[in-house]
């Protein structure tokens, strides 16, 4: 639906940039070929964008304005109500916010709140990202056992980061819709369903 938004709003200087946090272009290819995007649709096998933006799950959406500033911080947004029963997020307010921003440049998050709603990372979360990068390097060079140790360590250091804990599952030959995921989901529920909003509120007191 990002392509549809682009076709609707592109004349206002609006452009989606989609980034697949997948281990290979092949994993992202079915989604991209189905969408037939004319906007940039990128492959991020090393999770660079996740690391730079402090993303902890997908789909994460950020508004970036014409001056390269964040106009709306990380949020889980789906753009469709197709799976609403699982994630509980309404797409209508989000889509209204996208349209209003594209047309008027006014975000539904005022500038003084953008910083307050960002989640400052902990030292362990940044170490987890360094461990993930090391694990990926080792995996690519064929050191699977060593890679596994560092993927596990990364997950221990950053339990809220699904880009690490779930995102590493396909790399490690685990099913991201299987038992390990159910366990991750139950743990997340038991921890009070941490989100960008709750973590920002806790850390920006």
């Amino acid at each position: 639906m990002w392509q549809a938004l682009y076709e609707e709003l592109g004349a206002s200087g609006f452009v989606p940039v989609t980034v697949a946090l997948d281990k290979s272009a092949d994993d992202a290819r079915p989604f991209i070929e189905k969408a037939r995007p004319t906007h940039p649709s990128l492959i991020d096998t090393e999770h660079r964008v996740a690391h730079l933006y402090g993303m902890i799950n997908v789909p994460t959406v950020v508004f970036i304005d014409e001056a390269g500033r964040i106009a709306r911080p990380n949020a889980m947004e789906y753009g469709t109500d197709m799976f609403k029963q699982f994630h509980g997020r309404e797409s209508a307010p989000f889509l209204a916010a996208v349209r209003a921003w594209a047309r008027s440049g006014v975000s539904d998050v005022p500038p003084d709140r953008v910083a307050k709603q960002g989640v400052p990372p902990t030292a362990d979360e940044e170490l987890a990202r360094a461990e993930f990068a090391l694990a990926w390097l080792l995996h690519q060079r064929g050191s699977v056992a060593a890679a596994e140790r560092h993927f596990v360590r990364a997950g221990e250091l950053s339990p809220n980061d699904w880009t690490i804990r779930r995102g590493s599952m396909p790399i490690r030959g685990k099913n991201p819709m299987g038992p390990e995921f159910f366990e991750l989901f139950r743990e997340w529920e038991a921890n009070g369903k941490p989100s960008y909003e709750t973590l920002a509120a806790q850390r920006n007191r």
């Binding site: 990002w2 206002s12 200087g13 609006f14 452009v15 940039v17 989609t18 980034v19 697949a20 946090l21 997948d22 272009a25 992202a28 290819r29 989604f31 940039p40 990128l42 492959i43 991020d44 660079r48 964008v49 730079l52 933006y53 993303m55 997908v58 789909p59 994460t60 959406v61 950020v62 508004f63 970036i64 304005d65 014409e66 001056a67 390269g68 500033r69 964040i70 106009a71 440049g105 500038p111 953008v114 910083a115 960002g118 989640v119 400052p120 990372p121 902990t122 030292a123 979360e125 940044e126 170490l127 360094a130 090391l134 390097l137 080792l138 060593a146 360590r153 880009t163 779930r166 995102g167």
Partner: protein
């Protein structure tokens, strides 16, 4: 002292350099440090661009012209993931610096390929309102 090939990741960017390994310690020559991590060892200390951090008074940081990787990272408050057996280390971002960038509200720049292999840089789209969407097959 053994000098071995070693892979250093600097926030994901990989370099192959020669490192001195002694027990758990990894030490890099000035040349290796500069190539892998972009910091130069000068008389006034460790320097990058306009910034210099004095090395004197920091025990264990510099010995015989080589820089201890762990001490270097600690100096910059950056995390290190290390695998001595695999001869690889990943130096990550300082949490404090990341938090500061976040508070400053500037969207971090990046360059990534599309399916056709064409490289796109975020800042190349300056002047547009960008909806950045991270997604995955998982």
């Amino acid at each position: 002292m053994a000098e071995v090939p070693f892979t250093i990741l600097d926030e994901g960017r990989a370099s192959e350099v020669a490192a001195h390994l002694a027990g758990e310690r990894v030490r890099l020559s000035a040349g290796s440090l500069e190539r892998a991590l972009g910091w130069e060892l000068k008389p006034q200390g460790l320097c990058r661009g306009e910034v210099c951090i004095p090395a004197a008074g920091r025990p264990g940081l510099v010995e015989a012209g080589a820089v201890d990787l762990a001490a270097f990272a600690e100096l910059l408050e950056r995390p290190v993931a290390l695998d001595l057996e695999e001869r690889a280390a990943s130096v990550g971002a300082s949490a404090r610096e990341r938090a500061s960038v976040l508070r400053g509200g500037i969207a971090p720049d990046f360059t990534l390929p599309d399916l056709a292999g064409r490289e796109w840089t975020l800042s190349g789209l300056r002047g547009k309102k960008i909806l950045l969407v991270a997604y995955a097959s998982w």
